[in-house]
């Protein structure tokens, strides 16, 4: 599925002294099977933007298109099944006595039969590598496990676009690796993933394209090497290192992912 935002404007508290134009005409698309990273500072409009992706917020002007069809004409429930939003600290919404029941909660409201619900619970828990936790209480899990179970709850809705807002925040490095692996797996299933993060290392590792938001506008969008090397303040320290070297040696190129960066520099140092 292709999710496109076309010239989205959003104004908070219009017509009041507190009026704030949070998005000033944002256009971008998440293509099927790609990971689109969105970076930007506080107040850049990241959180407002993702709430337009399934019309939790309605734009002052502009359109959201699902495979070319205006999302406003779709049933809200249909749109929200197709576009799954995982907010920051999603584990705060865990509530059921067991992991399996928690994950089954949303699909159960889709009036599916029990076999289908069970399939979805099993598949989503398997995607996040949490099958072994299914009978446990979500409250007795570690932070990383809780995060994965909460994401499984959204996956069980069968979304075609998954939007993750700061999904690795507060996770230890190992749990963060698990999460990046999950994003790569989801991509292989043909889903699109929109990854919003303040952690540029993370975005550089998995994104196929990166969008830099600034004060409610798209400052840059494109391949990671182009966007990061041309907007160095949003680039990982490793990329900044290569850029600093590249000033005197153009032949280095523009590696982005860690392993690629290490390989490039190694061949340079070892000749």
């Amino acid at each position: 599925m292709r999710l496109e935002l076309r010239d989205i404007r959003h104004v908070y508290s219009p017509g009041t002294p507190f009026e704030l134009e949070a998005l000033r005409g944002v256009s971008l698309a998440a293509e099927p099977g790609e990971v689109l990273g969105i970076v930007g500072g506080t107040g850049s409009g990241k959180s407002t933007l993702i709430q337009h992706m399934n019309l939790l917020l309605e734009p002052a002007s502009g359109n959201v298109l699902v495979d070319g069809v205006d999302a406003a004409t779709l049933k809200k429930s249909e749109l929200r099944r197709k576009v799954g939003l995982v907010f920051q600290f999603p584990e705060a919404a865990l509530f059921a006595p067991t992991v399996a029941e928690d994950v089954a909660f949303a699909p159960r409201r889709l009036s599916l039969d029990e076999d289908e619900i069970e399939d979805r619970v099993r598949d989503s828990l398997s995607l996040v590598r949490a099958e072994h936790l299914r009978e446990r209480s979500p409250f007795a899990l570690s932070g990383g496990e809780q995060r994965r179970v909460a994401i499984a709850g959204v996956l069980a809705m069968g979304p075609e676009v998954l939007v993750l807002d700061e999904p690795a925040s507060g996770l230890d490095p190992a749990a963060r690796e698990d999460l990046l692996r999950l994003i790569r797996t989801l991509k292989q299933t043909g889903a699109s993933v929109v990854l919003v993060s303040h952690d540029t290392d993370e975005v550089a590792e998995v994104a196929d394209r990166i969008c830099v938001l600034e004060r409610g506008e798209v400052r840059a969008i494109g391949t990671p090497s182009k966007v990061l090397y041309e907007n160095l303040e949003f680039a990982p320290a490793t990329v900044q290192t290569v850029a600093a070297l590249g000033e005197s040696d153009q032949s280095i190129g523009r590696p982005v992912r860690f392993e690629e960066t290490l390989r490039t520099l190694r061949s340079l140092v070892e000749g």
Partner: protein, 285 residues
């Protein structure tokens, strides 16, 4: 009052724990088991380790948010379990999410909020608020509305609110994990300036934030499994791997290129070191 002399003698900035054990209700395994810890006044101590290793539980016991199943615990000379309010007056805790702590419409009200509950005189309150805002580098922000601030600024407002209470001890629970690179630098710069003046326990997943700490505790499985200098920790590959710790990307890059990592802290440092290495190699040809 009996015991008051001992209290005065007890070092107000110190922390001392023996055989501390705590199990969350309904959990199969203890979150902390047999933890012993001595921190002297003015020390800057980092705490690292995997999620579920016991870091946050330890902080919550130290300021009396949780109460230990067994063991002995003294914070600023007092038992947080029996005197939680006395302890919390002396211990400031900074959390991950800067949004959660901010309550008032203006920065200065927010910073004053804790003081208002302590019955501090108005003039003194004003002076303390002014000083705390200055100490976090936000002079001029007194009348700003917290929701208009960046993440790093919000977290500094929260820190100012703690400093206004003049605590001897600061417990920092991943205070930068929700901030972007600029916000992280701002907050770390301010906490570093408090070094020596306050006793600081700093929990983080970013080893790079602890390179200047006096020592680092590694917690795993509810125990303190190592208590080492930061320089030793980052060069001990086994200790790092056993505790699922990862070096910051820049340090990993430096190590992967055979360059010592502890002194290369910025991209510019590393680029310079790589440049020298390339030139040396070219020179030996």
């Amino acid at each position: 009052m009996s015991g008051s002399v001992l209290r005065i003698l007890a070092d107000p900035g110190s922390i001392s724990c023996e055989s501390l054990t705590y199990t969350y209700p309904g959990a199969a395994e203890p979150a902390l088991s047999g933890v012993a810890l001595e921190v002297m006044a003015g020390e800057y101590v980092g705490v690292v380790g995997p999620n579920g290793g016991g870091k946050s539980t330890l902080l919550r016991l130290l300021n009396g948010l949780l109460s230990a199943d067994s063991g002995k615990i003294r914070v600023a000379g007092r038992d947080p379990d029996t005197e939680p309010f006395e302890v919390r007056r002396r211990v400031g805790m900074l959390f991950q999410n800067p949004e959660n702590g901010l309550v008032a419409p203006f920065v200065e009200d927010d910073v004053a909020f804790g003081l208002e509950n302590l019955g501090v005189l108005r003039e003194e309150m004003r002076a303390r608020v002014r000083e705390a805002i200055r100490a976090v580098g936000l002079a001029g922000y007194e009348q700003r509305e917290p929701h208009t601030l960046s993440g790093g600024e919000k977290q500094r407002v929260a820190l100012a609110g703690l400093l206004a209470l003049e605590p001897e001890i600061l417990l920092l629970d991943e205070p930068t994990s929700m901030l972007d690179a600029a916000g992280r630098r701002e907050v770390l710069d301010r906490t570093r300036r408090l070094r020596g003046e306050k006793t600081i326990l700093h929990v983080t997943h970013h080893l790079g934030e602890l390179l200047d700490a006096d020592r680092v505790l590694v917690m795993n499985g509810g125990r303190i499994v190592a208590d080492v200098a930061p320089g030793r920790l980052i060069s001990d590959a086994d200790l790092l791997a056993e505790n699922r710790l990862v070096l910051p990307p820049l340090a990993r890059l430096a190590a992967g290129l055979g360059l010592g990592s502890s002194k290369l802290r910025t991209p510019e440092d590393l680029a310079r070191a790589i440049g020298e290495k390339i030139r040396r190699r070219a020179g030996t040809r």
